[in-house]
């Protein structure tokens, strides 16, 4: 049995199944992060006193993390473009680079968490740290998911390119959409938590 519309677009939606599916998923993610963000806004505006994130959090480390994620967005685009130019070897290098950059982000974030926990600063400490750990923690696990998918596609998953190159390229396109979305979320989280 062959699953239809993995490459050719559906007549009703105008896109292939994977692309429609990822956009529906990203719409639900917008609601998830939108809800968490609204919690942050409500807590902050309702509090008589709220600390400046730049006084309590490690802004230089988070800036490095932001640079890492933006660069990983570029390597993700390079990976997809390599497949469009039918260069699977080049794709593997860029996909691995993206995954390793994601891993670097996770390591730096883990170190940030360790720093806080070592000083007794936990989610239960106060509302600021509660919302900080929740917002960045949910984002952290999204990066974990993306890194796992990238390692899969750069490794065993690449076999698909030999028998169905267009379908595989579409898979990388939707993976890229997810990765850019997670990148975008961090670009909002970073200033909202660390800079204001």
């Amino acid at each position: 049995m062959v699953i239809p519309y993995t490459v050719e677009p559906r007549r009703d939606s105008g896109v292939y199944n994977g692309k429609l599916g990822i956009w529906l998923f990203l719409a639900s993610e917008i609601m998830l992060f939108g809800g968490l963000f609204s919690a942050y806004v409500m807590l902050r505006t309702g509090a008589p006193d709220w600390p400046n994130g730049s006084d309590l959090l490690n802004v230089p480390l988070a800036t490095i993390n932001t640079v890492i994620l933006v660069v990983s967005g570029i390597t993700m685009v390079l990976a997809w473009t390599s497949l469009r130019l039918d260069r699977p070897g080049s794709f593997r290098r860029y996909a691995l680079a993206t995954a390793l950059l994601g891993l670097a982000f996770l390591c730096i974030k883990s170190f940030e968490y360790y720093e806080k926990i070592e000083h007794g600063l936990l989610p239960s400490t106060n509302n600021f740290y509660g919302i900080y750990f929740v917002l960045t923690g949910v984002h952290f696990f999204h990066i974990v998911g993306g890194v796992l998918v990238l390692f899969w596609h750069a490794g065993p998953g690449l076999r698909m390119h030999r028998r169905a190159p267009e379908q595989f390229t579409n898979r990388i396109e939707v993976t890229g959409l997810y990765w850019h979305f997670v990148d975008m979320v961090w670009l909002v989280l970073f200033p909202a938590l660390y800079l204001v």
Binding site: S13, G14, V15, K19, L20, W23, L24, A27, I30, M31, G34, G35, S38, V41, M42, G46, S54, V59, T63, T66, V67, V70, V71, G73, I74, V77, L78, T81, R84, L85, D86, E166, T169, N170, G176, L177, H180, F181, D183, M184, L187, V188, F190, P191, A192, L195, V196
Partner: protein
């Protein structure tokens, strides 16, 4: 999807350019905070820069500017839905209507229901 290599290479250069632009906006944001922009100005500047970064990534790297109408409608609906939910939450905490009656529910007095004589 697979156009001529020159076209793909040109679009790749554009995408890399967007990535560089996002990095420069990041430097601007952090730089302004380091220079001592404070208060509401700081909030407006950093969140404004973040909005531009999000727009660039969504429009160019995620191809939303050339995406099908159905996808755009889906995302518009999502945005309106989320904004509505945020608005409702905001209204429960900050009622803008002067003189609005807030109905306070008080528990009924205990009438000794269930007591045995």
């Amino acid at each position: 999807m697979n156009g001529p290599p020159e076209q793909i290479a040109a679009s790749l250069r554009g995408h890399i350019g967007i990535g560089v632009a996002v990095l420069m906006l990041l430097a601007l944001s952090v730089g302004l905070v380091r220079m001592g922009v404070e208060g509401d100005q700081r909030v407006a500047v950093v969140l404004g820069v973040a909005a531009v970064q999000v727009f660039l990534i969504a429009a160019i790297l995620m191809h939303l500017s050339s995406e099908r109408r159905g996808i755009i409608v889906l995302l518009l609906f999502t945005t309106v839905f989320v904004a509505g939910l945020l608005g409702l939450t905001y209204l429960t905490m900050n009622d803008p209507y002067e003189g609005a009656e807030h109905i306070i529910v008080t528990p009924l007095p205990d009438e000794g229901l269930g007591e045995e004589d």
